[in-house]
């Protein structure tokens, strides 16, 4: 149980993280950072943080995120990620605080079967994209149009991430971008990005089998996490700096 006796945790937490980030601590003591705790959206269990069952995870190498010279703060990492997201065309993102770090969540986007984002307004549409050509429409008369959606989350923390068996729905994934904060709190920004920190990309993928079906969480995914990051343009933007 956590120190408030309200929720189970698997292992002891750093005192600081427990004080700031446990949602029970927030409720009981009124301690709250600028960004909401991720558990509220990605049902984290207490301060340890168990994101929902995830299919794909990829750890980003430190050189992609660290300053070439001098100390790297979490603010620097956040800026680098934000820049990469913007270069990849996401535009909108939201921030959450997690134990000893932060999480950044992208908008729900649609992608084609090879992992490339759809073009134009179809990319961030919540419904399956309409076919453009007459041939595609005629094909759609006999073959179901499918929708592939994903939400990419980066979690930067020194605390090990352990996923829960709770599944994230697409509707809830869509809310992530609107329920987070627009920036990180000063306390998080000024933390040093240490060797213990890891930046983990979590990719939540959903599939809508036909326009009449609801989008469902995909497990297992056909695409590797690296493919998702590469085709989305994020990894290329990070590598290019």
């Amino acid at each position: 149980m956590c120190s408030y006796g309200l929720c189970p945790v698997a292992r002891p937490l750093p005192k600081r993280a427990r004080r700031i980030l446990c949602h029970h601590a927030q409720n009981a003591d009124g301690v709250r950072g600028a960004a909401p705790a991720l558990r509220q959206a990605l049902p984290y269990q207490c301060s340890l943080g168990h994101p929902p069952e995830l299919r794909l995870a990829r750890h980003l190498r430190h050189p992609l995120l660290q300053n070439p010279t001098g100390t790297t703060f979490l603010q620097d990492v956040a800026t680098r990620l934000e820049k990469a997201f913007n270069q990849a065309g996401y535009g909108e993102m939201s921030w959450y605080e997690v134990p000893d770090g932060f999480a950044m969540v992208s908008r729900l986007e649609q992608f084609s079967s090879d992992g490339t984002p759809l073009e134009g307004e179809d990319r961030f549409a919540s419904e399956i994209a309409q076919p453009r050509s007459l041939g595609e429409r005629l094909r759609g008369l006999f073959i179901a149009r499918q929708g592939h959606y994903r939400v990419i989350t980066f979690i930067v923390t020194s605390v090990p991430i352990q996923q829960s068996n709770e599944r994230l729905s697409r509707d809830r994934a869509m809310e992530l971008v609107s329920t987070g904060a627009d920036r990180l709190s000063e306390g998080i920004r000024n933390q040093v990005f240490s060797g213990n920190h890891r930046c983990t990309a979590l990719i939540y993928e959903f599939e809508q089998r036909t326009p009449d079906h609801a989008a469902e969480f995909v497990t297992p995914s056909r695409l590797d996490g690296t493919v998702h990051l590469r085709r989305s343009g994020i990894l290329t933007a990070l590598e290019g700096r």
Partner: protein, 150 residues
Amino acid sequence: MSIEECRKRLAIVWFVISGVLFFVLILQTIFGRYADRVSEAWSWFLPTIMPSLSLIAATWASDLSRESTQAEKANAFLYRLALLVSVFYLCAIVLVVFASAFSQIPPLEMMRQSNLFLGPIQGLVAAVIGIFFVRKSEKKSPHQADAPSK
């Protein structure tokens, strides 16, 4: 025009258009257009088509067992009305099936919504076709033997 000829024409309209629709739905079923909800598509389609089709087929079968109706003439107004409402109704069904490829509304949702307007039309179609196929034909007068009735 003889009543047998009129019935034949109406039956051809119904069987040809229904056949095309059947074939399209079979292809859609094979290619998985409705995924695991294929029964919903057929549950919409069959009650939309089958009552009138069954009536036409049953009347035809019954006519085969009777003596020829070649000499009996059809009520021209009733025939044209039956043909008109049949074509209108079948075109509406074709539109629902085919327009789903061009519409934002999901196919099964469109089928559900179409019941709002197809239901009343189907009632009308059933009434007109029922009267036309079941009603006793008018006896031809000797001097109108080959001309359609007015």
